[in-house]
């Protein structure tokens, strides 16, 4: 299968290792992976700010950059949700471009759900000696139904055990521009999230979205907690030795 990686702007800027981990996992699943050069961002900041014109312009650029691949895969439920769910809504009243949006939506996937639901991967060959807890990022969970998939793959990581937090499905307060526009509310939400994580026995928190992870790791660091934060793909690809936890010194 010929797969295009949608790197996502946050992975590109903050944590390229997640991109390489995604490629490794996809190649292990038998995919041929390419990274189209014409990509930047999915356009969510514009879309969620009510700027339809820019959101559409960026979406059209995504259509072009990702034309012709069997599948488009992003290591983020939020960006994958944009491609799968929101582009067709964005072009709902545009008969010229709607078919392109729908066509892209049908072949766009979040990484972990693609590995399990499409490639039928049942386990990975990684090892990580940790007790982890998993944060279900909102878009992945509620727009794409991602819940069981990461847990299934994590169960195959030797040495790893999962300690569920009661509030795993509650938003961490990132919300893109929300955390800048309403910092006090965001702070309250991420403080609650951190407390929920700290109350488990986990020594690491994993998630499938870098936005949430930057927020959660940033809060845990500020509080001086010794809990590491990582993208789930790094763990599944066995690449934890190659990069320090999010927010930790190199």
């Amino acid at each position: 299968m010929h797969v295009a990686l949608f790197v996502t702007c946050l992975v590109d800027l903050f944590r390229p290792t997640v991109g390489f981990a995604a490629i490794k996992l996809l190649e292990q699943a038998g995919c041929r992976v390419e990274v189209p050069r014409g990509q930047t961002c999915c356009g969510q900041p514009a879309y969620n700010s009510g700027d339809q014109a820019n959101a559409k312009a960026i979406a059209l650029q995504v259509f072009d950059a990702f034309a012709g691949y069997d599948s488009v895969v992003a290591p983020s439920g939020s960006c994958a949700g944009m491609l799968r769910v929101h582009y067709p809504e964005l072009f709902a009243n545009d008969p010229e471009n709607l078919p392109r949006a729908q066509e892209l939506a049908e072949r766009s996937w979040e990484l972990i759900s693609f590995l399990t639901d499409v490639c039928c991967v049942e386990g990975v060959a990684a090892h990580w000696e940790r007790r982890v807890t998993y944060h279900d990022a909102c878009s992945g969970l509620r727009e794409l139904g991602i819940k069981r998939q990461p847990r299934q793959l994590l169960a195959s990581v030797s040495g790893l055990s999962l300690d569920e937090a009661p509030g795993a499905e509650v938003c961490c307060g990132f919300g893109g521009t929300f955390c800048i526009k309403y910092p006090e509310i965001s702070d309250k939400m991420v403080t609650d999230k951190a407390a929920d994580i700290v109350a488990t026995d986990a020594d690491a928190v994993l998630a499938g979205d870098l936005g949430c992870l930057l927020n959660i790791a940033g809060k845990l660091c500020r509080q001086g907690q010794q809990i590491e934060a990582r993208h789930v793909a790094e763990v599944l690809a066995g690449m934890t030795a190659e990069v320090a936890p999010i927010g930790a010194p190199r």
Partner: protein, 476 residues
């Protein structure tokens, strides 16, 4: 009710700093969602019921003109009267005119959010009529001169010690030695005060959860039975409600009632479901002599046919706010008008204007929990986004924010430039942050770093590493 939604940010900060409020919200945060989940788990067809509920409301809204007029004709046929009100002022005037016609001094009230919307209590008081709230929560906040903070639990922002204090301050007959510690004791105290007023009232005002077109009936659900006493004891019953509450048949209302109680409180059915059809008939043992319905529009009909029509499906169950992490952080008063939480974030701008209520649809992470629990599947985040689109088009959002966004978008539409800038930024930030792995403060990112650290980038952008890998066969 006077709106203060413009002050959302300051009110939210005040809410976050209010210890009693945070204690009260902490209890509410887990209670309602847990009870709803258990109720839903006990009903395997709940999802199918949601779909049915949505279909009933969509159908009714599509033919609202027909159903609402049919409803009126049935109210008239059963001996009642409908008063159409385009605005809050018209609705208040209609209520006052009815009260005056029977020389009313005391009016008992069941909980009605539409009555809050039109500011009925203040209006009646200004006109020499004493309104007495009979729902326990409403009664408490009436004593405290506060607006409700939740559409089904109006006093949820209070802890029980505050309620006891309020009773001690306001109930002059209250024996100082009487304990007010347990909710039951406070309930008994309120009951003792309310009983004589039920009997003294000339007019009883309730809201309506549903209006049934086929029979001209109104349906009210309560858990305290105060709705019954309010509408059966006085000589006159006035239903203060709004046009989108109408449904075609009892069968439809029954479907929605099953959704309502489970979504609201996790009950299979509310304790009291009271159906009123016209005034007392000859063979009836009790009931009012007059039955009036004041039917408010206040901007709702203007939402039909727009991006916001789906909002009129709302059955006011409150599940969206009970599951909302933003509501749970700041409480209902921050929203600054009658309807808080996600449903308020969509409805309020529709009724009082996006200029006044612009913060509400912005103060959301789009986490989607509201939509996932809404019994009539209202796409709340999507409609909040539509409000943001209106704001953006009208240039109502802050200028710096719009400027920043357009610069970012301009760059994002030029991949070569974007990659060059991202590569440089990753290097610069990665270099600056390598020692600690994070920043405690960053220029231009104070909104982020005042409350949390900013993890440092690894040091190279993915695309620059990938280009290198493609050229040399190795990324690092």
């Amino acid at each position: 009710m006077l709106a203060t939604s413009r002050n959302f940010t300051a009110a939210a900060q005040a809410g976050l700093a209010n210890d009693n409020l945070q204690r009260a919200l902490g209890l509410a945060r887990t209670g309602f969602p847990l009870r709803r989940r258990l109720a839903v788990e006990r009903l395997p067809e709940f999802e199918a019921l949601r779909e049915a509920g949505r279909a009933i409301k969509d159908h009714t809204l599509q033919y609202l003109d027909f159903y609402i007029e049919f409803y009126e004709s049935q109210v008239v046929a059963s001996g009642g009267k409908v008063h159409w009100a385009r605005t809050p002022a018209e609705a208040c005037a209609a209520v006052l005119q009815i009260c005056r016609s029977v020389g009313a001094k005391i009016v008992t009230k069941g909980k009605s959010m539409v009555a809050e919307e039109i500011g009925l209590n203040d209006f009646l008081e200004a006109n020499g009529i004493t309104p007495v709230e009979t729902d326990l929560g409403e009664y408490i906040i009436q004593l405290r001169h506060e607006p409700p903070s939740h559409i089904i639990a109006p006093a949820i922002h209070l802890v029980k010690e505050q309620v006891a204090e309020t009773f001690r301050a306001e109930h002059r007959s209250l024996d100082a030695g009487r304990p007010l510690i347990e909710p039951r004791q406070m309930c008994d105290e309120a009951r003792a005060m309310l009983r004589p007023r039920f009997l003294a009232a000339d007019v009883g005002i309730t809201g309506a959860n549903f209006l049934v077109a086929e029979t001209g009936s109104s349906i009210v659900v309560t858990n305290e039975g105060n709705g019954d006493l309010t509408q059966v004891l006085p000589r006159v019953h006035i239903v203060v409600t709004s046009i989108e509450k109408v449904v075609p048949t009892f069968e439809d209302a029954a479907t929605l009632l099953r959704l309502l109680a489970r979504s609201a409180t996790g009950q299979e059915f509310s304790t009291y479901t009271t159906i009123s059809t016209g005034p007392r008939r000859e063979a009836d043992l009790d009931g009012p002599e007059e039955y009036h319905v004041v039917l408010l529009d206040n901007g709702r009909s203007g939402m039909i046919g727009t991006d916001f029509q789906d909002m009129l499906r709302c059955i006011r169950c409150s599940a969206c706010m009970s599951h909302c992490p933003v509501y749970a952080a700041v409480g209902g008063h921050a929203y600054g008008w009658v309807y808080p939480g996600p449903m308020g974030a969509v409805l309020t701008p529709g009724l009082i204007g996006i200029e006044e209520a612009g913060h509400l649809p912005n103060a959301s992470t789009f986490c989607g929990r509201c939509e996932s629990v809404c019994p009539v599947k209202i796409p709340l985040p999507k409609m909040m986004r539509h409000w943001r689109e209106r704001e953006h088009a009208k240039k109502l959002s802050p200028t710096v924010y719009r400027k920043g966004l357009s610069v970012w978008a301009w760059v994002a539409r030029r991949p070569a430039l974007y990659h060059a800038l991202a590569g440089t930024a990753a290097r610069a930030l990665g270099w600056a942050g390598q020692g600690h792995g994070r920043f405690r403060a960053l220029p231009l990112a104070a909104g982020w770093t005042t409350v949390r650290d900013m993890p440092s980038p690894e040091g190279r952008s993915f695309h620059s590493l990938w280009a290198q890998y493609k050229k040399r066969g190795s990324a690092r």
